[in-house]
């Protein structure tokens, strides 16, 4: 289980994240919803060790304290992060990206097992083994990113807006893939603006507003919450269809 207590991030005097506390268990999808600039990305980057956070913030995985560790030690501890922009090696091949994913010591023993898992999940990557990732489509690159993350044999997979820049169809595909990842027993912490699709696959959700968590509940309950509908499900033009159906 990933546990975060009282995590705050300051950019100068600006608070980008304030006293955030969440938990994510293995085998569940947890989504953090929030508007642009609510502090979602900052939060994930802080957990991943990229963005420094204030003293007093506490992060642990499977009971091990991993607060304030550098990114490579966070991966070693069992948290894989797919940042916005995917964090892949676009000048290298698919095969090399997956091999790099298995670079953490804890993942090396299970490299072939994890590779099988990834190729079962994304059979397309097996066909495209030798392709330079930069030359692939956005959806395929997202597969490489998720595949690379699974190769590190994580307990928890964190993704920052995996649907960003993808067509609705590809977007759906990505979310379906995340459900398959959950079936494999991983915990998923997802940050999204696409509330409709992410709530549809999530088990639990947190609402983030002005750098604070204002609500937390089961995804199935939040979907029907009037405040959520108003703020996240009605806001975007492309989701009006969904809103009408709900109303």
């Amino acid at each position: 289980m990933l546990e975060i207590k009282n995590l705050s991030v300051f950019y100068g005097r600006h608070r980008a994240a304030e006293d955030l506390s969440i938990t994510v268990s293995q085998g569940e999808i947890v989504v953090i919803l929030g508007a642009n600039g609510a502090g979602k990305s900052t939060f994930l980057r802080a957990i991943a060790g990229i963005t420094p956070y204030a003293r007093g913030g506490f992060v642990s995985i499977e009971g091990n304290d991993i607060s304030h560790l550098p990114p490579h030690e966070i991966v070693e501890a069992g948290i894989a992060f797919v940042p916005e922009g995917r964090g892949i090696f676009s000048d290298l091949t698919v095969k090399e990206n997956l091999a790099l994913g298995a670079n953490p010591l804890r993942a090396r023993k299970k490299q072939s097992e994890n590779l099988k898992r990834v190729l079962k999940l994304f059979p397309k990557l097996a066909e495209r083994k030798g392709q330079i990732v930069r030359t692939m489509s956005g959806g395929e690159q997202q597969m490489v990113a998720i595949g690379r993350a699974i190769m590190s044999s994580p307990y928890i997979l964190m993704l920052d807006e995996p649907s960003l820049g993808l067509s609705p169809l590809l977007c759906k595909e990505v979310f379906q893939n995340l459900m398959k990842v959950r079936e494999a027993g991983l915990g998923i912490l997802l940050v999204e603006q696409n509330a409709k699709q992410s709530l549809a696959i999530a088990d639990r959700a947190y609402l983030l507003e002005n750098s604070r968590i204002i609500k937390e509940d089961l995804a199935s309950i939040l979907v029907d919450d009037p405040a959520v509908q108003k703020a996240y499900l009605g806001g975007n033009g492309d989701e009006t269809g969904f809103k009408e159906k709900l109303v």
Binding site: P70, E76, S90, D91, A99, N103, A107, R134
Partner: protein, 288 residues
């Protein structure tokens, strides 16, 4: 034919030197202007072992190269790393590292002049002629060429075929992503820098077999390495090898056909043309 062979032999050693700079600039992202001084230090190392202990440069190479590795690693940890930590972006790091290593190059020149003196140095090793295609070439040149071939092949295989080599390439293309796959980025950068310095010093040791050198000649080699790296592309190791041969060939051709005094001028002319027409390098391809 003569020009082609001599150009090839020269280019081989240039390739080694340029790969050294490429590791430092392309992977560790430090434009090391003191690179040439480390090359000269390698030359002095080989010279010293040869003149004081009669040790063949082909053997002292195995002492000089690891020493250079350790020395460069220390330079990175104590001089460069604070700059890396402080830099807010790549541009600032570039400026800071150029200024710092430029200063460092003067310190090295001063130290080497103080220790060895300001005169020219050379020693005779393998000065027998070697016949190749009805022409004779110095055996020492051929030995130096073979040394760089061995080093280049070993490096190429190591970088392209091993997991550590892969992490090195990962850090070169996307340092932020590298941290996310559990690569210790600061250590990998230090490794690349130290390895680059070691390779350069090995180049210096093999150059000293046939070239006369002095304490202040380093800057010329820094510039040559820079020309080759820019020409070949910052990250393409095969591009750098080909470019090294091009430079070796151009220099030899100009020196034999026109005037030996014009070799450096020809090299820079080549450099300017590349900056004007193909700034990403002949083999750099996509610049991200």
């Amino acid at each position: 034919m003569d020009i082609v062979v001599i150009g090839l032999l020269l280019g081989g050693t240039y390739a080694l030197i340029a790969i050294g700079l490429q590791l430092q600039y392309g992977v560790a992202r430090i434009m090391n202007l003191a690179n040439g001084e480390l090359l000269v230090a390698g030359s002095f190392g080989a010279f010293w072992f040869f003149s004081s202990a009669q040790l063949s440069p082909l053997l002292s190479l195995f002492i000089v190269t690891p020493l250079a590795f350790v020395f460069n690693w220390l330079i990175y940890q104590y001089l460069i790393r604070p700059l890396v930590r402080r830099a807010k972006n790549r541009g600032q790091l570039e400026v800071d590292s150029i200024l710092a290593t430029f200063g460092l190059s003067f310190i090295f020149v001063g130290l080497m002049t103080a220790i060895f003196g300001g005169e020219y140095f050379s020693y005779s090793y393998l000065e027998q002629p070697f016949n190749l295609l009805n022409q004779s070439y110095g055996l020492n040149r051929i030995a130096a060429f073979l040394v760089s071939v061995v080093f280049c092949v070993a490096l190429y295989i190591w970088i392209n075929r091993t997991q550590t080599g892969l992490t090195l390439r990962a850090v070169a293309v996307a340092p932020e992503s590298a941290g996310l796959v559990g690569i210790n980025v600061p250590n990998t950068l230090a490794l690349a820098f130290a390895l680059g310095g070691a390779v350069t010093a090995a180049g210096g040791a093999s150059l000293s077999m046939f070239l006369t050198f002095d304490a202040s000649v380093g800057v010329i080699f820094t510039m040559k390495a820079l020309i080759i790296v820019i020409m070949g592309g910052v990250r393409a190791i095969n591009g750098v090898i080909i470019s090294a041969f091009i430079l070796g060939f151009v220099e030899t051709a100009v020196a034999t056909l026109i005037d030996p005094g014009l070799t450096l001028a020809a090299a820079y002319l080549l450099f300017i043309f590349i900056l004007l027409f193909k700034p990403q390098g002949l083999f750099g391809g996509h610049a991200s």
